[in-house]
């Protein structure tokens, strides 16, 4: 009896009370409260005040995202293990990989910039793909385990800092610059990275975060129970 009371006290202090009606949301960009309509797959809802896309319901989101995430993982593995760019000039050859670019910066004493290149071109994309794979695999369980929520919350950061497409543009510019001095040999990784840019974009846009959040196991089990009772009654 005492335990339950203590329990209830700490529960009130830590967790907020959810609303009974879960279709009520507020716009993340202007905080206007509005009700999300029930959307058909492929349809989207926009904020009535600031026109932000609040939700786009994706068709067969989990399966498609899983397929694209597996594809992205394979392309990523190839892209980072074969040469990306090479050049020949008067009989001499030089090759580099993505990692080689960061490594060279490090050796030249630009450690901070090297770390940034390493993070945005190698680590963040790996996390982006890895998190997404884990999310869509975990989301197949019923109920969806809580660690999926942790990954889902941090996935946005990995997406922001994963800059494969920016790197591709940078490599193309570098290629044209170097073409003045030497013969440039585009490596296999360059084409694989080009494909990866599109697969990653497809992976992001086939994913429907709201669908996963709706089925996730709540941190506050009691609130979840209360919310479920409300919906039933």
């Amino acid at each position: 009896m005492v335990l339950t009371r203590l329990d209830q006290e700490s529960y009130r202090q830590t967790y907020n009370q959810p609303l009974a009606d879960r279709s009520l949301i507020s716009c993340p960009h202007c905080d206007l409260m509005q009700r999300l309509p029930d959307l058909a797959p492929g349809a989207s809802a926009r904020c009535a005040r600031c026109n932000l896309e609040l939700w786009r319901r994706r068709e067969d989101s989990l399966n498609r995202t899983l397929a694209l995430a597996i594809g992205a993982a394979l392309l990523y593995a190839v892209a980072n293990s074969v040469p990306m760019l090479g050049l020949t000039v008067v009989g001499r050859e030089a090759f580099t990989t993505v990692l080689g670019g960061a490594q060279h910066l490090w050796e030249d004493g630009r450690e901070t910039v090297a770390a940034l290149v390493l993070f945005t071109a190698i680590i963040a994309p790996a996390l982006q793909i890895g998190f997404m794979l884990a999310i869509v695999l975990g989301a197949r369980r019923q109920p969806v385990p809580r660690w999926v929520g942790f990954l889902l919350r941090h996935h946005r950061i990995t997406h922001t800092w994963s800059m494969i497409e920016v790197m591709m543009l940078g490599v193309l510019v570098a290629l044209i610059k170097i073409a003045d001095y030497a013969t440039v040999i585009p490596g296999l990784a360059l084409f694989v990275l080009g494909a990866l840019v599109f697969v990653l974009a497809g992976m992001q846009s086939s994913f429907d975060a709201r669908e996963v959040w709706e089925r996730i196991e709540w941190a506050d089990a009691r609130a979840a129970q209360a919310a479920a009772d409300c919906n039933d009654g």
């Binding site: 026109n51 800059m163 940078g170 979840a224």
Partner: protein, 212 residues
Amino acid sequence: MKSAAITAMQHGLHSCEGCGLLSRPGPQQEQGRCPRCAHQLTFRKADSIQRTWAFVIAAAICYIPANVLPVLTTTTATGSESDTILQGVVLLWSPTGWPLSLIVLFASIMIPSAKIIALAYLLITVQRGSVSNNEQRVRLYRTIEFIGRWSMVDVFVDTFTAALIQLQPLMSVEPGPGLFFFAAVVVLTMLAAESFDPRLIWDAASSQEVST
């Protein structure tokens, strides 16, 4: 009437940044936890204005050495030459290379400075409680958020140019000290955009709408 409230904050509700759930904090509580994802909740991002100003000012300071110091040093048998970002753009300008030259000009010079100015404009209008041009201002914020990453292009260009052109003693290219400051500008403006809370743009207008 109290029911005229239009935003979640006016209703006393937290909106979770992580999972989007609306929830009600305990009485007199500013903070709480999302019952669904356990994320720490506040009505607005914590110290959004101060943090964003700090990042913007730091970025503006780094912007100067980023453009004055060389980003690449090319050493050939006849001597060595250092190029700043702008000189790199000029070097790239040729009958065939001009589109790329324009891309680098936009990504490396226009976007970072435009971002710094735009964020300062958003901060000042929010601090003055402006209620006009809300839609344009939030659109400006979304553009900043979307376009910021593309400034990294020049960092990658210099990285791979330096990594490839290692043909000692014929020719070698080394990254210069400007590259650090340039990368700092990109990262700081991205962090500034991240710490800015766009809901602040609408708060003055929201409270006006309720009181009338």
